[in-house]
């Protein structure tokens, strides 16, 4: 059975990655045994720190890098044996800004469409350029554009051939608020037309804002894949730090239930709480601290950094 709109088999993952590993020529292993299914029409965020292997994974799926082991199916097509069918489905916006300097916006976007074997369709190109606020720049040479505009051009190129799957590699790195907003609107619109969107980021907030599902990757291993809501519950932790006037030697009995940590030679009480849950327990804690007769001179909260969370997760999964 196929879905009328996309011509893709329904009910099957649109991308299926099995046992993919990558060791680069210099002997560095960037990916180890990655299994991942991307569902049709979802927005999937691949979350991980720099060097985790996100770009490598995307480049393998798109055919830019060859996998050392494993296989990838795109719309049911092996991305090596049936690379034409597989690649036709994909639009890629790479992490780095790679653009020709002297081409005009219109020509470079049309070039991509041709490269993907699609018949010229000025109406479609026009629509894409308008959606990305590039229409009035269409005859301008790319080198005259700002960085943000160049990124828009790269998105336009990726959409020029009407892909069913869109890869956005670190789409918001160094991007202004305006473009970020436009981009998320576009992504949601695309999903409305059944396009699957896979993006990479190292910001939790970004994954939170847009994704249906999130995969966490670290040091070349996919640590976990989950629905966003479930994951945010796991990840959305904050530390509340209370600076005390007088140092403590031990945590008072009455505060034992909070699982506090004493740091800085007893001058700092740290409470870790869940941002997503309804009751964070912050008010109750502060009340109990007062009752215990402690004087607080400063209060600070800190989001557990992604690095912290990764370290935690890696330890958990090790």
């Amino acid at each position: 059975m196929t879905d009328a709109g996309s011509g893709l088999p329904t009910g099957e993952p649109v991308i299926s990655i099995r046992g993919v590993s990558k060791t680069y020529g210099d002997g560095f292993t960037a990916l180890s045994d990655v299994d991942l299914d991307i569902e049709q029409g979802e927005i999937f965020a691949l979350l991980g720190p720099n060097g985790a292997g996100k770009t490598t994974l995307i480049n393998i799926v798109c055919g830019i890098v060859g996998a050392s082991a494993g296989r990838v199916l795109v719309g049911g097509n092996d991305n090596v044996a049936k690379y034409r069918q597989a690649r036709e489905l994909i639009g890629l916006v790479p992490q780095e800004l790679h653009t020709d300097a002297f081409e005009t916006v219109w020509n470079t976007v049309s070039f991509t469409r041709g490269l993907f074997g699609k018949k010229t369709n000025p109406a479609h190109i026009e629509q894409v350029l308008k959606a990305l606020s590039l229409w009035d720049k269409k005859d301008g040479e790319i080198m005259t554009l700002s960085g943000g505009m160049k990124r828009r051009v790269m998105i336009a190129k990726a959409l020029s051939h009407e892909p069913r799957i869109l890869f956005l590699d670190e789409p918001t790195a160094g991007v202004d608020v305006e473009l970020r907003k436009d981009m998320w609107n576009l992504v949601r619109e695309l999903r409305g037309t059944g396009v699957t969107v896979i993006l990479t980021t190292h910001y939790i907030e970004e994954a939170e804002a847009i994704a249906d599902r999130v995969g966490i990757i670290n040091k070349g291993r996919l640590i976990l894949v989950d629905e966003k809501a479930a994951l945010m519950a796991k990840l959305g932790r904050k530390d509340l730090m209370l600076q005390l006037e007088k140092p403590l030697t031990a945590i008072p009995e009455s505060l034992a239930a909070y699982g506090l940590e004493l740091r800085n030679g007893g001058r700092e009480l740290v409470y870790t709480f869940d941002v997503v849950s309804k009751r964070t327990g912050v008010t109750r804690l502060l009340n109990d601290v007062k009752k215990a007769g402690l004087t607080v001179c400063d209060i600070e909260t800190k989001q557990s950094s992604l690095e912290d969370i990764f370290v935690g997760l890696v330890k958990e999964t090790a």
Binding site: C62, P94, E103, G114, G117
Partner: protein, 253 residues
């Protein structure tokens, strides 16, 4: 076949030529003119006919070959090197185009450009010397084969090179000397025996000789040998390109 993909690459490359028209067309025309003034008129007037052809006319095929070889090489090398250098190659690699289609697009464009150049030089030459072309079809055939062969060779260099220096190295260090020593400006009959034998190991000699034969029916080696040599060269380049894509050498990490 993804013909639209091939055409997209071809057109992109031709547009690049259009933008650098001055550099790619005008400068070879000027340098050719200079060759005619210096070699054809100034020096040539003191040289007797070579094989019954005036010296000015004699050097025309060699001059065209010199430009075809260096231009095919540098155009094709630059065409594929540049997207690798600035990173836009990602798009070619992730597109549904085969290795053959990519090569056809880039090499086809480079060869077209060289062919146009060859015709322009030929036209320029006709202003200086009376030209006769005994076998126009054979001449065209030699020209097309040469353009494709050396564009392919340039394509290989563009993939092999990992800096601009290497990109310039082969055309400058290998091709120019080979052309000058390949009988472009003389017949190897004019050389002492030893050097005549050495010249026979110069592949460019076969090109120039065959090409000149198509003009004046005078040749250093049999035109059939020339034809075999250039065909062999073309085949070898095709083979290397095929290997490059099969192994992903310098293209796919």
């Amino acid at each position: 076949m993804n013909w639209r993909g091939v055409y997209a690459i071809y057109r992109f490359e031709m547009a690049r030529t259009g933008r650098t028209l001055l550099q790619s067309i005008v400068s070879p025309v000027i340098s050719t003119t200079l060759y005619f003034v210096v070699f054809g008129s100034a020096i040539g007037s003191r040289i007797t006919d070579v094989g019954g052809v005036s010296y000015g006319a004699f050097i025309v095929p060699g001059l065209i070959m010199l430009s075809l070889l260096t231009q095919s090489l540098s155009n094709a090398a630059f065409g594929i090197y540049f997207p690798r250098f600035i990173g836009t190659i990602y798009e070619i690699l992730s597109a549904p185009v085969s290795a053959f289609e990519i090569t056809l697009g880039y090499v086809g464009a480079a060869a077209t450009k060289s062919l146009m150049l060859g015709v322009i030089i030929l036209a320029t030459a006709s202003f200086f010397v009376p030209l006769e072309i005994a076998h126009p079809l054979a001449m065209l055939f030699f020209m097309v084969l040469t353009c494709f062969g050396f564009s392919l060779f340039g394509f290989i260099i563009g993939i092999w090179a990992d800096n601009f220096e290497k990109l310039q190295l082969i055309p400058l260090l290998v091709i120019t000397p080979l052309v000058f020593l390949g009988g472009s400006f003389y017949s190897i009959d004019m050389l002492p025996d030893v050097w005549r034998t050495v010249s026979l190991f110069n592949p460019v000699l076969y090109l120039v000789s065959g090409f000149r034969w198509s003009f004046y029916e005078i040749a250093d080696v049999s035109p059939l040998v020339s034809l075999t040599a250039i065909t062999f060269f073309l085949g070898a380049c095709l083979m290397i390109v095929w290997l490059i894509f099969k192994t992903g050498y310098r293209i796919r990490a």
